[in-house]
Amino acid sequence: MVSMNFSKQDIFDLLEEVKDPEIPVLSVVDLGVVRDVNIGEKLEVIITPTYTGCPAMKVIEDDIRSKLLEHNIENVEVKTVLSPAWTTDWISENGLKKLKEFGIAPPAKTTVDKSSLTGIQKEVECPYCHSKNTEMKSQFGSTACKALYQCNDCKEPFDHFKCI
């Protein structure tokens, strides 16, 4: 009911303030986790997980609810959908930029990471010194969506957002 006073764009603007709990510089909109918003009898927010086991989903759902509640939007349903599957291409341009500034090497555009099929290591640029002389230390990083890299020039370890 209250949600009637808001346009779709208004809701997206509000959700822009909800950050990913693991990567607090990215909003859930930048990340592409918020897939759509439907305004009707109640407000329906459609979200999708980055990884099926992403433990942040519950927190994201709660954060979305409380952000909307701050603006007196109470009748909210947060719906999780799996299909079409989230891929790293869903991260906005703005999101990719913010990732890099935060010290996480962003995923390359175009979803299919051929290196995972061919076993050939791909080129990942160090987010600190921009060297391409970097090395994967572990396929699995601090969260399900990241891999651990190290720069061979500035020696800094950094996270790389895996391309899926």
Binding site: T52, V81, L82, S116, I164
Partner: protein
């Protein structure tokens, strides 16, 4: 209710759930930090798959996800025996994972075409994750097999222990047949040659021989388990049994 579908979802879900529980046992015990993180990351991915499948099985029977996951008896778990085998040493865990991943990747690729939207949706996501899992476990099988005498020996021992549990992936009964005909389930006969090829390819690099013994232990899909499952369940079900309906 579609009885066969429920059964099929449970089989798939229990494979993920029990393997996730086993991998979770490595948390804080990995041989190196990166592996500790990797094994628990993989645990998280398979638990994510399990949650979707438990939730779906629940919807088919009017139960809650937690009830399906935690309140069944041992005989009602339908996972393959491979995933309940003990972690053993790192070689044992990695080889178990490799056999599983080499099955799951082509399986999920096929499942993407399922007429069941929940299953195809899950498969679409799981393919991407499983690609990383298989790459990781293949690399380790090669490193251990083509590594030191000791690492090779440990992998050989793991192979002797686990080989007889690999036939169960390709066991199909009337549940499979019916659902394959309906365009819902994956025909595991199509997966077998892909699995064989992957195992041969990785074993060749790891300097391992495929065992000649082709006697395969079955039973998990019917709920007949090795003695290990009971111990897993007593730990896994403790919270829901002691505090029924408890939530985080």
């Amino acid at each position: 209710m579609n009885k066969e579908l429920y059964e099929y979802v449970l089989r798939m879900g229990d494979d993920s759930l029990i393997l996730g529980q086993r991998l979770g046992e490595w948390c804080g015990h990995g041989p190196i930090l990166e592996e500790d993180i990797a094994l628990t990351n993989i645990a998280l991915d398979v638990l994510g798959q399990a949650r979707i499948l438990m939730d779906y099985a629940g919807k088919l029977t009017n139960k809650k996800e937690d009830e399906v996951a935690f309140l069944r008896e041992e005989r009602d778990y339908k996972n393959v025996l491979l995933v309940e085998q003990p972690n053993g040493d790192f070689a044992q865990t990695i080889l178990r994972q490799f056999f599983f991943d080499a099955f799951r990747l082509p399986f999920f690729k096929e499942l993407q075409n399922s007429k069941d939207e929940t299953l195809s949706g899950l498969a679409l996501k799981a393919v991407k994750e499983t690609t990383y899992h298989l790459q990781h476990s293949s690399n380790w099988v090669i490193r251990l097999g083509d590594g030191t005498d000791e690492s090779h020996q440990r992998l050989e021992t793991a192979l002797e222990d686990l080989w007889m549990f690999t036939g169960e992936f390709f066991y199909a009964d009337e549940v499979d047949t019916k659902l394959v005909n309906e365009g819902i389930a994956v025909d595991v006969n199509k997966i077998k040659p892909i699995w064989d090829a992957k195992v041969s390819e990785v074993f060749a690099q790891a300097k391992l021989q495929i065992p000649e013994n082709d006697w395969m232990q079955k039973g998990g899909r019917q709920g007949r388990h090795t003695e290990h499952l009971g111990f897993i369940l007593s730990e896994m079900q403790y919270m829901q049994r002691a505090y029924p309906g408890c939530e985080w």
